[in-house]
């Protein structure tokens, strides 16, 4: 397999854009990506595109979304594939595009993701967002994903003594980080008191434990090692990439306080990259709910099983800590446009590794190796990527 580099990445700001539809959002991220290619690129060089999306605006465009979007940016003849794995759609689009370049099938591929979530009613949103689990059984118990993650949280608290305050620390940290990110949806800090006392959603989770619904798109340009220098002297290599899946329903899993799909993806990525968790300088992880970030710490090897609360107490995962997690603000504060999230994480890692985090106060100093972790549903699917800056 050939080595694969990221030579460009773009992202819309995440938030609410009443005047923009899926085509306009995608074009915005695409343009942002083109501008990021140091030596420029003729977009017609792109040979293949994978675009992740769950619903493309709650289902108004059910089929052939990827070709529709590529046509809108003037590339109707680039073979385009829509990828759907719920909240990990973007990660699986990236995974697929990397595999296409690594295999030699093409030299230059696009991975993207998009979701338009804000211009539908909250009822319709809850409908769409709750049917990516094992619908026949989980949904009919009266659960949405908040409820499913709440089951994970209750069990985690029971087994490992995680406290309500420790959960809230994830939200407080990620809002603090997001406040510094010009592309984040909620650029607002919250206090621990607020985060503990939010309106209940699904005990033990309250509104501050949940990520928002978001409009947004992200695009990553991948290139074979042979051609990377045509486009930049500062490529970021994806040195490890892994994917995992599991039963969708938590009732079908032996263990619910760790996601096997994410552990599998991480093990594969670490093995391929030849690095260990302690070599990772920073990570973007899938914090759709605060408990999801807690679970991720162990799944990615950042702590021993059940030790995540201690990591939060020590502020080890805050900017300036031992292993900063979600300096972008994460899904919690940066926002979670479902299909875009996996590629938006890659956008953040690409910029951090190249010293281009825009706002100097949020730039991680001298980072060499980054990681991103994208989870579908409540752990039914997952991807993990490890990136290294070279040159």
């Amino acid at each position: 397999m050939r080595r694969v580099a990221i030579v460009g990445a773009g992202q819309t700001p995440y938030g609410e854009f009443p005047t923009l539809g899926v085509k306009e959002l995608f074009a915005w991220a695409f343009k942002d990506m083109l501008h990021s290619v140091d030596k420029g690129i003729d977009p017609r060089e792109i040979q293949l595109a994978y675009i992740g999306s769950l619903s493309a605006g709650s289902g108004f465009q059910l089929g052939q979304l990827a070709a529709l979007l590529m046509g809108h940016v003037g590339l109707p003849h680039v073979p385009a594939i829509r990828v759907e794995n719920a909240c990990a759609s973007g990660g699986f689009a990236l995974y697929s595009a990397i595999c296409a370049v690594a295999s030699g099938k093409c030299d230059i591929a696009l991975a993207g993701g998009i979701e338009k979530m804000r211009d539908v009613s909250s009822t319709k949103t809850k409908y769409w967002l709750g049917i990516s689990g094992d619908t026949e059984f989980e949904r009919l118990a009266g659960l949405t994903f908040a409820g499913i993650y709440a089951l994970v949280a209750s069990r985690y608290m029971h087994e490992f003594g995680l406290t309500r305050e420790q959960l809230a620390k994830v939200a407080v940290k990620n809002h603090r980080h997001g406040a510094m990110n010009p592309k984040a949806q909620f650029r607002r800090e919250i206090t621990l008191e607020m985060a503990v006392a939010g309106a209940p959603v699904a005990y033990p989770l309250n509104i501050w434990d949940c990520c928002p619904t978001t409009d947004g798109a992200a695009v990553v340009l991948l290139c074979s090692e042979e051609r990377a220098r045509e486009f930049t002297d500062h490529p970021v290599y994806i040195i490890g990439y892994g994917a995992g899946t599991d039963y969708l329903a938590v009732q079908d899993r032996d263990c619910i306080t760790s996601f096997k799909a994410a552990r599998m993806a991480a093990q594969e990525a670490y093995k391929q990259a030849g690095v260990k968790p302690e070599d990772i300088d920073f990570a973007e992880v899938h914090d759709c709910f605060t408990i999801a970030e807690v679970v991720a710490y162990y799944d990615l090897g950042f702590c021993e099983k059940g030790e995540a609360g201690r990591l939060l107490d020590e502020e080890a995962t805050s900017l300036g800590g031992r292993i900063p997690v979600n300096v972008s603000g994460g899904l919690k504060s940066k926002g979670h446009p479902i299909g875009a999230t996996g590629c938006g994480q890659a956008y953040e890692v690409f910029n951090q590794l190249r010293g281009q985090a825009k706002n100097p106060e949020r730039q991680i100093k001298n980072a060499e190796i980054g990681l991103s972790h994208n989870v579908g549903g409540s752990g039914g699917t997952a991807t993990v990527f490890i990136y290294r800056r070279e040159g």
């Binding site: 059984f137 118990a141 709440a150 959603v201 699904a202 033990p204 938590v250």
Partner: protein
């Protein structure tokens, strides 16, 4: 606008929803619930027999759904009850299943509490009341 579970789709799972019938793998002896084409425990594909589960078990984890956490088809229920507990139950025979917990105050729900199955109204779709399993605290 709720998740769409058509009447035929619901009907196909009546054995599970009304009677908690699982599939016992004749190779490893374990019970799969809900039934699977491939045994979760050993991968066996074709030697199963139906097995009746007792409906008795213990709460493995739980949540209390408040209004904002309820799917649209359960929002009416969440509105008039203000909350409803959902439990992940480990049945005595091994499988875990997720369902609502009824006949209980929210501060009484805890991990480890013994529960038993009851058949109750789940919700209404296509003007048809859908019944199915829920749990209640075990009565001595």
């Amino acid at each position: 606008m709720g998740a769409h579970i058509s009447i035929p789709m619901y009907q196909r799972a009546v054995k599970q929803r009304y009677r908690l019938v699982g599939l016992k793998c004749l190779k490893c002896g374990k019970i799969n619930f809900p039934p699977k084409a491939g045994c979760k425990y050993c991968g066996n594909f074709d030697q199963f027999e139906e097995a009746q589960l007792s409906g008795k078990g213990k709460v493995y984890s739980y949540t209390i759904i408040a209004g904002a956490g309820a799917p649209p088809e359960f929002s009416e229920e969440a509105a008039y009850r203000r909350f409803y507990p959902v439990v992940l139950v480990e049945l005595d025979e091994g499988p875990r299943i997720v369902a609502q917990l009824v006949d209980v105050e929210k501060d009484q729900v805890e991990i480890g509490m013994p529960v038993e199955l009851v058949i109750r109204r789940i919700y209404t779709e296509e003007d048809v009341i859908r019944y199915g399993y829920k749990f209640r605290p075990k009565k001595d």
